[in-house]
């Protein structure tokens, strides 16, 4: 027998109480694990998404450039437009490698049950979207349409099929299906830019222009050159990541508040359990002291019991966090103003380390007072009131 096995056996005396305390710690650990996984995952997903667009700069008309940039990625309408002339001018600026025009529109279906998002794109856009894999082909004529993978699944359409868009009262030929990107791109209808301009009555207009540079170190100089064009706002992609992270700051603050409450409640539960167990065993501790245990031995025993609860709670919490990550991610997505492509919960060694470290620290703090109380029990307690 060791002092560790003694601590574990002590916890088995009140199995249900111990189990409930472990569960409390597990909930706190799972919350911590999930929130940290989200923090890491969201940042990575956002940077990946911005990197995968292949776009270094977003050009839009006056208004909030962040909104414009966000809409290029996410879909949505901007009531002001750039002219096609701007696309030619942007392409001619020194340092610009590629530039592609976007026209983005949303239309509610006639029954009002959903909103279809349409993305009119120029032939340059695939060069700006290196992560796109299209099954089938690029646009063949003005009647061609490419479907995002989610749209294709919902509409049960494949390459070669026809699709009738009720809101446009027009039938298109499905020439390609965009393979799943796990982002917003999966939910769009893609039309040739000229077709989109025609059906949305915005001939010669663009919502925004995505720009790829030859040399990203020249970003500032190219941005300055682009800003000399009239009625043009330019936002670098990297600034977009930063601003989006600021945009979700409120959501993160809310999540960290929930985490603090979970940790506090769990710590109190742990303190209560260990304190009760200490009060119940005064005579035992007295006896142990009587047979030679030093105050530190008693303190060690109580701290070990606390840590055993914490460790089991951590294992259960991390396993629960991993097991429920899909549901947790789905839940978190509802509160985010911006959702990048890919998984949002990405636990790594750092997340595990912080979860283990923080929960054990919580355990040690919660166990300090009860262990101190236990260590102060006099050997006389064992024999008093015999």
């Amino acid at each position: 027998m060791t002092i560790v096995s003694l601590a574990i056996k002590n916890l088995k005396r009140h199995r249900i109480r111990t189990l409930l305390t472990i569960l409390g710690v597990a909930i706190a650990a799972a919350t911590l694990f999930s929130i940290l996984s989200f923090d890491v995952g969201y940042r990575k997903a956002l940077h990946e998404e911005v990197a995968n667009t292949g776009i270094n700069l977003f050009v839009s008309t006056e208004g909030c450039p962040l909104e414009a940039a966000s809409l290029i990625i996410h879909g949505g309408e901007i009531p002001k437009f750039l002219s096609m002339e701007r696309l030619k001018e942007v392409k001619s600026v020194e340092g610009v490698k590629q530039a592609g025009g976007f026209l983005i529109f949303s239309l509610p279906t006639p029954d009002g049950s959903k909103v279809d998002l349409f993305y009119g794109i120029s032939d340059d856009v695939p060069k700006l979207k290196p992560n796109w894999k299209i099954r089938g082909s690029w646009f063949k004529d003005e009647n061609s349409i490419i479907l995002g993978s989610e749209v294709a699944r919902v509409e049960k359409r494949d390459v070669g099929d026809k699709i009738y868009i009720e809101s446009l009262n027009k039938e298109f030929n499905v020439v390609g299906i965009l393979e799943r990107t796990y982002g917003q791109d999966d939910g769009f209808y893609y039309l040739p830019l000229a077709t989109a301009q025609k059906y949305f009555r915005k001939e010669g207009k663009l919502t925004a222009i995505g720009v790829q540079l030859f040399d990203v170190t020249q970003l500032e100089s190219v941005k300055n050159k682009l800003e000399t064009l009239p009625d043009v706002y330019v936002v670098p992609a990297k600034d977009m990541s930063k601003q989006i992270l600021e945009l979700i700051g409120g959501t993160k603050a809310l999540m960290y508040s929930v985490l603090l409450i979970a940790l506090f409640v769990s710590g109190l539960g742990l303190l209560n359990t260990i304190l009760m167990a200490t009060f119940e065993r005064q005579k035992e501790f007295g006896y142990i002291r009587c047979v030679g245990a030093q105050p530190f031995d008693v303190m060690k025993l109580v701290i070990l019991e606390t840590l055993a609860i914490c460790l089991l709670g951590i294992v259960l919490g991390i396993a629960g966090g991993l097991g429920l990550s899909v549901s947790i991610e789905h839940w978190i997505r509802q509160f985010l103003p911006y959702i990048p492509a890919g998984r949002l919960l990405r636990p790594d060694a750092f997340v595990v380390l912080i979860t283990v470290g923080a929960t054990l620290t919580l355990g040690i703090i919660a166990g300090l007072y009860p262990s101190y109380r236990a260590s102060k029990i006099s050997p006389m307690e064992a024999i008093r009131n015999e």
């Binding site: 027998m1 056996k9 002590n10 088995k12 035992e284 047979v291 030679g292 245990a293």
Partner: protein, 221 residues
Amino acid sequence: MNNIVELKNVVKIYHRGDEELHPIDGIDLAVGEGDFVSIVGPSGSGKTTLLYLIGCVDTPTSGAVIIDAVKTSELKENDLARVRSGKIGFVFQQFFLLPTLTALENVELPALFSEHKAKEERARELLNVVGLSGREHHLPAHLSGGEMQRVAIARALINDPKLLLADEPTGNLDTANAEAIFGLFEKLSYRGLTIIAVTHNMELAGRAQIIRHLKDGRFVD
């Protein structure tokens, strides 16, 4: 023969409100190695307090307590704990067996807090000595009162103490089990262990080599 226990004019004073109590009031005692001593006396005579002082669980107000040549009345708490661990075994009326530990593990328990860590074999031997061979893996709930007290005696012996202190060890036992426990003490004393037992039972006390009568905090024999 060396004295394992020596008490020199030991006084213990307690205060209860304004009242001053003298449960031990100037006691001298010498107990040699291998002696089996019974301390008898009426309730409130100071028997248990005396046992606490000898067992280094309590300290005297004045006078000297010497255990195996160590003047324990001058030691600090941590050093007293070391003396208790290394030199003294305790047996109480309430057995203080941990309910989640088996008989074997209960016997091993004091060794966890001593310098001798691995004691399983020794614990088995001691269970054999107290007649509980084959009951090693029984939980206290599955043992009778007499068996539990025998486990407690084996546990008191795990660190090879020089002195065994027993406070009303048969208080919770029937006559047959009480007889068996004192029989065991006789056997252990014969092997050289010094035993001091406090009891109300004069018949059992008579089985010790030495009987000391205590009244109002003083020996009266």
